[in-house]
């Protein structure tokens, strides 16, 4: 419940950012450099005199938007691979699962970091790096579920009725894995946001002056001893967003997929 409220608030803020932000997030103000919080700048300003609150509000678009988009891509790839490997089986299954095994032999963030480091810093590449690494979790889980369903009566019935494999996968298997996918995706959204902000924090993600939260943390690093607000607030924003989506994920799991309860 609390989680839903937090997430809803963040989404509203992201959508309504231009109307909510009191200042232009990239407007430089030489008279108010590293200013303390005031009625003009509620959370103070950064090293270029930019309003931190406005940057945070616009940052919701970048950070959450990237996480949602990456999540959508990851789910699409992971679920497709999982369904196909699980239903078709045989050699294709073997090959796909060996690829999964190989990718799982690395800590995800480390592999994503290496990929982004190679491709060069940009938010787009961060997304690519994460998608390239994160889909394997879904592929494995969904393949497991699919293998479990493959011999069930409704699938056999569909096969006997002459339904081709793509139709069986799309119309009969996919709807059955959707609840698990939703739960998994919500639970993973938090770790995606953390990873995105981590890569941005290393300077590999969104480039200044983009007000992405991880990038703001990176920008603030050099000044944080003099002006801690530069790092405290973006970090709080990330923490709140992650906690919100984790809570929603926990709640959804209890409702949609009690079997996954640990």
């Amino acid at each position: 419940m609390i989680g839903t409220i937090i997430v809803a608030l963040f989404i509203i803020v992201a959508i309504a950012a231009p109307f909510l932000a009191p200042h232009d997030p990239t407007a430089v103000d030489a008279r108010a450099i590293l200013a303390a919080p005031s009625s003009e700048h509620w959370l103070g300003t950064d090293n270029l005199g930019r309003d931190i609150l406005s940057r945070l509000i616009h940052g919701a678009r970048w950070t959450l938007g990237t996480a949602f988009l990456a999540s959508a891509l990851i789910v699409t790839i992971g679920v497709t691979v999982g369904l196909v490997a699980g239903y078709v089986g045989g050699l294709l299954d073997d090959i796909l699962m060996r690829v999964v095994d190989i990718l799982l032999a690395f800590p995800s963030l480390v592999l994503a970091l290496a990929i982004v480091g190679m491709l060069g810093p940009s938010l787009m590449n961060v997304m690519l790096g994460m998608v390239a690494v994160w889909w394997v979790d879904y592929a494995r889980v969904i393949r497991g579920l699919t293998v479990g369903m493959r011999e069930r009566e409704f699938v056999t019935a569909a096969r006997c009725a002459g339904a081709p494999a793509p139709r069986i996968i799309a119309r009969h298997l996919l709807p059955n894995v959707v609840p698990s996918v939703i739960v998994l995706a919500t639970l993973e959204l938090g770790s995606l946001m953390l990873a995105i902000s981590a890569l941005s924090f290393l300077g590999l993600g969104a480039q200044p002056p983009t007000p992405e939260w991880g990038t703001m943390l990176n920008d603030g690093r050099a000044f944080f001893q003099r002006a801690p607000q530069l790092m405290i607030y973006p970090g709080l924003a990330i923490t709140l967003a992650v906690i919100g989506s984790n809570l929603v994920g926990d709640g959804l799991r209890d409702v949609l997929d009690p079997r996954m309860k640990r």
Partner: protein
């Protein structure tokens, strides 16, 4: 059950070999096909095309990729991991030099967070719905949700900059040349904040898993039997229920040990800790192909090996799990 163990182990290790080969091949192409050319690093400042060509030839970068891969694999089999471009030293030496700091940091963190996490989990499970449990649960939510590197910076601000209790970064005080015990305590002081940073997530995870598992176990019939026999509560919890509750924790700790070598990359960067994670980060940015391959080989091997060990440990701890 125990009779199957050697055969099971042998099979798992044999399976690991092609997997590791696959890891190497995938890494090789990932690293070499990515944009960027290490020639600028090798040639230093300036240089013209003929010089570049000579350097490429010297380092074998002019050969077709499959040939380079074959040569690399041949070297690995013979224990030759190549020369780092950036450090101009054998990859093995460069990695070995960074190993102790990382192992120290990760080892202390994993042990500490596991022990404290299990303890907190037990405390929570034994006092359900108490204020203690609620505050611990809120704390674990925060531990899950906050970016560890950010928390690290805040710790630095509070404990190093404001209070001056701990050093801001590094592993040793560069200005002092401590020996013996003084050196140890110097390292320990430098270790405190990075370990705290690194432990938060793991601590939260272990605490929650222990709590959930233990609560479930405490509601089972065998616990009631033990209590009915008149066993004192500590004995029921620690000797009977906790053992069963800790199974999921084994998996989590295993996964953590698998990431021993590079799992601390962000913490190492924030605290300028001279470990492998930072080495990997630097090697990525400078396109140090042989060094990257070496680190990935180490990471891949450790993850695959710990997975095997975790599975075996699981089966030993839980007789219901069968080797297949």
């Amino acid at each position: 059950m125990a009779a199957h163990l050697p055969r099971y182990l042998l099979r798992r290790v044999l399976q690991a070999v092609p997997l590791l080969l696959g890891v190497l091949v995938v890494n090789f192409f990932l690293i070499h096909l990515a944009p960027g050319d290490p020639i600028y690093l090798l040639a230093g400042d300036g240089g013209d095309e003929p010089y570049f060509a000579a350097m490429r030839q010297k380092y074998g970068l002019d050969k077709p990729l499959p040939v380079q891969l074959g040569l690399y694999l041949l070297g690995v089999v013979q224990g030759e991991f190549g020369y780092s471009f950036a450090y101009a030293r054998p990859v093995f030496e460069v990695i070995a030099a960074r190993l102790p700091p990382t192992l120290l940091l990760m080892g202390v963190s994993i042990v500490l967070s596991t022990v404290v996490g299990v303890w907190l989990g037990v405390v929570c499970a034994r006092r359900p719905n108490s204020p203690v449990e609620r505050s611990v649960l809120v704390a674990t939510l925060l531990g899950y949700g906050c970016p560890a590197f950010w928390l690290g910076q805040l710790l630095v601000l509070l404990f190093a900059v404001r209070l001056g209790w701990f050093p801001v970064q590094g592993m040793v005080n560069a200005r002092a040349d401590y020996e013996g015990l003084a050196r140890l305590s110097d390292i320990a002081r430098h270790l405190a904040l990075p370990v705290a940073t690194l432990s938060v997530l793991h601590l939260a995870l272990v605490t929650r898993l222990t709590r959930t598992g233990l609560r479930e176990e405490l509601g089972k019939d065998y616990v009631r039997t033990a209590r009915a026999k008149g066993l004192p509560t500590p004995s029921v919890v620690n000797r009977h229920a906790l053992r069963n509750a800790l199974l999921p924790v084994v998996t989590v700790v295993g996964a953590d040990i698998g990431t021993l070598f590079t799992g601390a990359v962000l913490t190492e960067i924030v605290f300028a800790w001279p470990g492998l994670g930072r080495l990997l980060y630097d090697a990525t940015l400078s396109r140090d192909y042989p060094l990257l391959m070496g680190i990935f080989l180490l990471v891949g091997t450790s993850v695959i090996l710990t997975n095997i060990v975790t599975d075996v440990a699981y089966a030993v701890l839980d007789p219901r799990v069968r080797y297949t």
